[in-house]
Subunit: 432 residues, 2 copies
């Protein structure tokens, strides 16, 4: 179908990896998209840091500007796409765009995690939409399905592998026995990890994304600070070996779960049973499993990052926004908001646990450890004990039944402090 509708003016903020993909695809597929949505999209201005920088593709140099006002104050621009990343100035730009009555699309997980609730309210006040599919899971549709397709459900839980860097590292450690440091170096060489990997390996990036998913799933404002967080830097080769022996993979899971009027929010390494699909999501792939009261469990899996997959999500949002603008519609999906979230303190979490404990290899040690656990009402499901070659030490691996985390921590502290015969090397929560 042809179209005689007016073009939708687009302003692009940022021309990095994703921004370049967006600019290039909007140009290459202009005719297809016009047929698709019934009106042309016109890229009118692109905010960059450096106009003189060489770009790997053709873009009209007159579109480039270093002045944000050229985008934000241009009345011909009805849709602003923000792919700068980071908190500021992206946050200020998004606010300004919507206050000027422009629709906004962003792929910015940090801004959406920290200010999502406020920005979505601002969008409503100004009768525009703020779309952010690309902020979680790259090319995997997850935001829109939560807003629309799963709306009939009460969402019970979200379980996700949403950081490709750490999943790449964990896969390398697990499948090839590489050390954390070597796997990280490899990921950096391949461009899967930043020079400073803190945000990824400490679970900060995953916590941002979990905050976004939990906000949407539970209709409450979740801030990344509400998320309990442990990174992957302390995992060692023995953990991967024992996990495999016991029938598990180790994954950095982001978990959000309703429980007793509160919400569990946590990002940490987890033992995932080998027969669950999440255990088999390897390398840089991402996956999100959503559990609802009607549809039970649905899993979305795909590329969690990369220029083109992220472009796929950004452009889908842009096409959606353009249809709304062209038809003069404000589409008020999913704006139900409930009272503030009450994050469940980590001590109140109930889980099964994997414990790896170094002990002096002498009679009665296991009995004393088991006794301490029993006093704290931690029930043991299975035990492995192995000598550590060439040392007088042994290693005990205990899988517990479901226990309260505060009870477990107390018992472990007592084992370490009171008896002086054991060192707790590792505690990993087990996915049910």
């Amino acid at each position: 179908m042809g179209s005689d509708r007016a073009a939708i003016g687009i302003g692009l903020l940022g021309l990095g990896v994703v921004g370049s993909g967006v600019a290039r695809i909007l140009s290459e597929k202009a005719q297809v998209y016009e047929r698709q949505i019934g009106c042309p999209l016109q890229l009118r201005r692109v905010l960059v840091r450096d106009i003189t920088k060489a770009r790997g593709f053709d873009i009209d140099p007159s579109l480039l500007t270093t002045n944000p006002a050229d985008v934000l104050d241009d009345p011909e621009i009805q849709l602003v796409i923000e792919v700068i990343g980071g908190d500021e100035p992206a946050y200020t730009f998004l606010r300004a765009a919507m206050q000027a009555g422009k629709f906004a699309v962003t792929g910015n997980k940090e801004v959406m995690a920290k200010h999502g609730g406020e920005l979505l309210r601002l969008a409503r006040q100004h009768n525009v939409d703020l779309l952010y599919e690309a902020s979680v899971g790259g090319g995997i549709p997850i935001i829109a399905p939560l807003k629309r397709d799963l709306l009939a459900n009460d969402i019970m839980s979200v379980s996700a592998i949403i950081n490709g860097t750490t999943n790449y590292i964990l896969t390398a450690m697990s499948k090839r026995g590489v050390s954390f440091a070597d796997a990280l170096a490899e990921a950096q060489t391949l461009g899967f990890a930043e020079p400073d990997p803190t945000n990824d390996v400490e679970g900060i990036d995953a916590a941002y994304k979990l905050a976004i998913l939990a906000t949407l799933s539970f209709h409450v404002d979740v801030h990344p600070d509400d998320v309990y967080r442990e990174g992957i830097t302390k995992l060692g080769a023995p953990d991967f070996e024992y996990a495999r022996e016991l029938g598990y993979a180790i994954k950095l899971l982001a978990l959000a779960r309703r429980r007793d009027g509160a919400v569990e929010l946590r990002v940490h390494p987890s033992l995932v049973p080998q027969d669950q699909l999440l255990a088999r999501v390897d390398g840089v792939l991402n996956a999100v499993e959503i559990e609802g009261d009607l549809m039970s469990r649905v899993l979305f899996q795909g590329p969690g990052a990369g220029s083109l997959p992220t472009t796929s999500a950004v452009v889908a949002d842009a096409l959606d926004a353009a249809v709304s603008i062209s038809n003069n519609v404000y589409w008020p999906h999913s704006f139900r908001r409930e009272d503030g979230v009450k994050p469940l303190p980590i001590g109140e979490v109930r889980s099964r646990y994997y414990l790896r404990i170094s002990v002096v290899d002498e009679p009665g040690v296991l009995a004393r450890i088991a006794g301490r656990l029993a006093e704290a009402r931690i029930s043991i499901a299975s035990v492995l004990q192995k000598e550590i070659e060439g040392t007088p030490e042994a290693e005990i691996v205990i899988m517990t039944h479901e226990s309260r985390e505060a009870d477990l921590r107390k018992a472990l502290a007592e084992i370490e402090e009171r008896d002086n015969i054991a060192r707790v090397e590792q505690v990993i929560r087990v996915r049910p």
Copy 2:
């Protein structure tokens, strides 16, 4: 948020397994949904076959009617939900509803597969929407993601396990060595298979769903008759054993793929490499993998049937339609249509093949078979030969490199007819 908008009147056609779920959930979650979408939904009439039949839940008997006109001609009903199933009278009812200016939601794969293009055009003519998320994949969002979230992509292929009955049977045959007949009987006892299982085990149901997915993915009208189809009734225990030995699972895959200006459309048993997620989708689960030029591969997995998962999809569509009605919007997503599909004849398909051939166990047999294949330019990737205990026969399993199907068929016919030393027991295409 409360609402002072007028209620949306809903008419429900059918009160079977899915219809009952829809009626019950619309009643139980009325307040939640009203907060969600900003207006109440009011179930005004339900078409049933038998008013006196006992229902497993509370429903106001005055809502029930056996007269379709009570739903279709009621001006207070703005949204019709059709969950009768089958071609007629569902098709006629959907047409009548839209001609009367009502929005329509259906879970009817047969109607959408056979008449989808026409019904969607009718919807446009009358400025209403026709939503059909529940027609494919039960509780898995797949129609809406294809319409919206993946819209930036050119879809290259769809690979799907979209029939839970056959996947249950194949899983039982593979994991527990059960025969086809026993697995089918088990599925019937558990309610996973109909008393007459033809539609499922012959791939007819999967072909309907593939036609719907291909129509949406490739923007062409695909009819189920365009789909090449083989069922699962001829698979035997040896095939599952050899497949496992060779590193594959056997799945009934529905495949749609662009190739050289034509579209491959086929439903048949396939060998799926064990390291692909589709190989691990077991039991009654469904999964759909979509490949696009931007997002590469994205997989959606979940419950493909069942009252509540299907209700989840129907109600999501109903909520979406209600927002459109309440805001007086016609939402013209994805109505691009390209020229008619050119289905690729099965003879032109290129694939790798698994061949299981019974032979008289005498010298030179394998050489003659290999010679026939070589003449037809079928290149052999690997061969297994095993004696069949207690007989003078042996079994040869050949994996070919990629070959043209017409060439393969010709070679196999010659092997069977000209030499009279071999019988082709099984041919299964291999997923790349």
